[in-house]
Symmetry: C2
Subunit: 299 residues, 2 copies
């Protein structure tokens, strides 16, 4: 078991760094021009309460990037005065949208995290670090990719009093992880798991590139995701049919691949006959350095 | 004030009708073929608890149709043994997806509802009624469209112990309504409003067709939507930028059109210079009869 590494101690420094940034101003000369952004001072927009602990409160937003059908997830503890936030699987093309929303909501982005080295789009992490130097990149150590924080199975990633637990779920790639909300009365209920491509709704990511293994993926999903409480909300990195969320209970019953026995699953995965990923030769090298690891000024 | 009309009394009959339908079977001959659907017996997949009243519990799903960028919403009371459900703004192209999900989740669809006569896609209501004769169509009386139930401002539409309140929000079309969850301890918290095209995230529907009026839309949104509690979750009929949800508080602050004064809003709406809607000549006539009002066998 890898020892826990808690990033919570970093938050005060990160929050101070974020505060020190001068917010860019938006022009408002004409009557129809966009108005300047004044972050909401007393925001009450959480979709989830967290039960017993009134001073931690999850704000949650699911965001979609159409070209690669990628979901990006924004989570923040709006019970914390600093409103510390994380973004999971940001896409380069939608970074401006995401950062504008974060600014409007008055959040402090501390981590831009990836579930794995994506092959179908370039991560937004590098751009985010350029535009918001206080934010740090996070990816699994097993991915081999460069990032500010390389996380391992069992790590907890704190934002305010809320945290995400890291679960190693290799199989789509060798470095895939699932980020899962905590299991205590002051954490979101029901639990939420951000599964990347390990599990997508009624399906899963392919296993024929990037150290993929159908045997390993089956084991990962059954031991690390299907073992969560049945009402756990599962949020994948992609959806191609217009679904937004599923649950452990649903996927155990209806996942067209992962609900089968292991041998059937492996047969299915070996016979997908998928074409070579269009973006892989661009996306993977870029994502191995989190889009680009260092802001251009340092290159 | 239009008197309340409560549809709750219809539920036992509708539930009985739904029970009497023989569920179509799915073939499962080959090992890799889709498995038959056995609806989950003891479903625990609600994203929202409803607080004080343990026997009403909202299941909520947001579904997306890419071609018209339409959101369809599924709501069910899974605290009720019958799991009565409603679909808001279903699209013809995604009816099979939606009905399959409803079947998997073991829900009884009682109402297929529209917020208005859409100009950009054909509603799924007609197809749903063909495939699931127990389901009834719902639209506003002011729309002039045919439906099983023509609702008016102030009506409550019950599914189990949960209900949606009808609020007239004309301006995009003359018959637009917003469906809002109830305001009592046994209803979802925070409240949720399904705004159709009256309000979309940071914007609104056009006002130059179908009895549209910018003056009326401004009045509708400010009196019927912005007056809701600031943490009310707003779910629009469309989004073109990958957002999934907003709140009253956010839109009051940041809606690029509706947060302005009325005269500025009207100037913005008069100068949008939008092209003629591609689908309007097909969609509106079809949607005036809810896709098609009667199942083909009766035509």
């Amino acid at each position: 078991m890898v020892p826990l590494r808690i990033y919570r101690h970093l938050i005060p420094q990160l929050a101070a760094a974020a505060r020190s940034l001068s917010a860019p101003k938006v022009a408002a000369s004409a009557s129809c021009a966009p108005r300047p952004i004044s972050p909401l001072p007393a925001l009450a927009m959480a979709a989830y309460g967290t039960g017993a602990c009134a001073d931690s409160k999850l704000l949650f937003r699911q965001l979609f990037e159409k070209e690669s059908s990628t979901y990006t997830y924004l989570l923040a503890d709006v019970g914390d005065p600093e409103k510390p936030a994380v973004l999971i699987d940001p896409v380069d093309r939608t970074v401006d949208r995401d950062l504008n929303l974060i600014k409007e909501l008055g959040l402090k982005l501390i981590y831009a995290m990836n579930t794995h080295v994506h092959a179908d789009h370039v991560t937004g992490t590098g751009l985010i670090k350029t535009k918001l130097p206080g934010a740090k990149s996070v990816i699994s150590k097993a991915s081999g990719a460069k990032a500010d924080h390389s996380v391992e199975h069992g790590d907890k990633i704190y934002f305010g009093k809320l945290f995400l637990e890291v679960r190693a779920t290799p199989g789509h790639t060798a470095g895939c992880v699932t980020y899962v909300t905590g299991d205590s009365p002051d954490q979101p209920s029901p639990r939420m798991a951000f599964t990347g491509d390990a599990l997508i709704i009624r399906a899963c990511g392919r296993t024929d590139f990037q150290g993929g293994s159908s045997d390993q993926l089956y084991q990962s999903v059954h031991s690390q995701i299907f073992s969560l409480p049945k009402d756990t909300l599962l949020y994948p990195a992609h959806d191609y049919k217009g679904f937004t969320v599923t649950t452990v209970e649903e996927e155990v019953a209806y996942n067209a691949r992962l609900s089968r026995d292991k041998e059937t699953f492996k047969t299915i995965m070996e016979n997908l006959n998928l074409s070579y990923p269009k973006m892989i030769d661009v996306a993977v090298p870029a994502n191995m350095v989190c889009g680009f690891q260092d802001p251009p000024s340092k290159v």
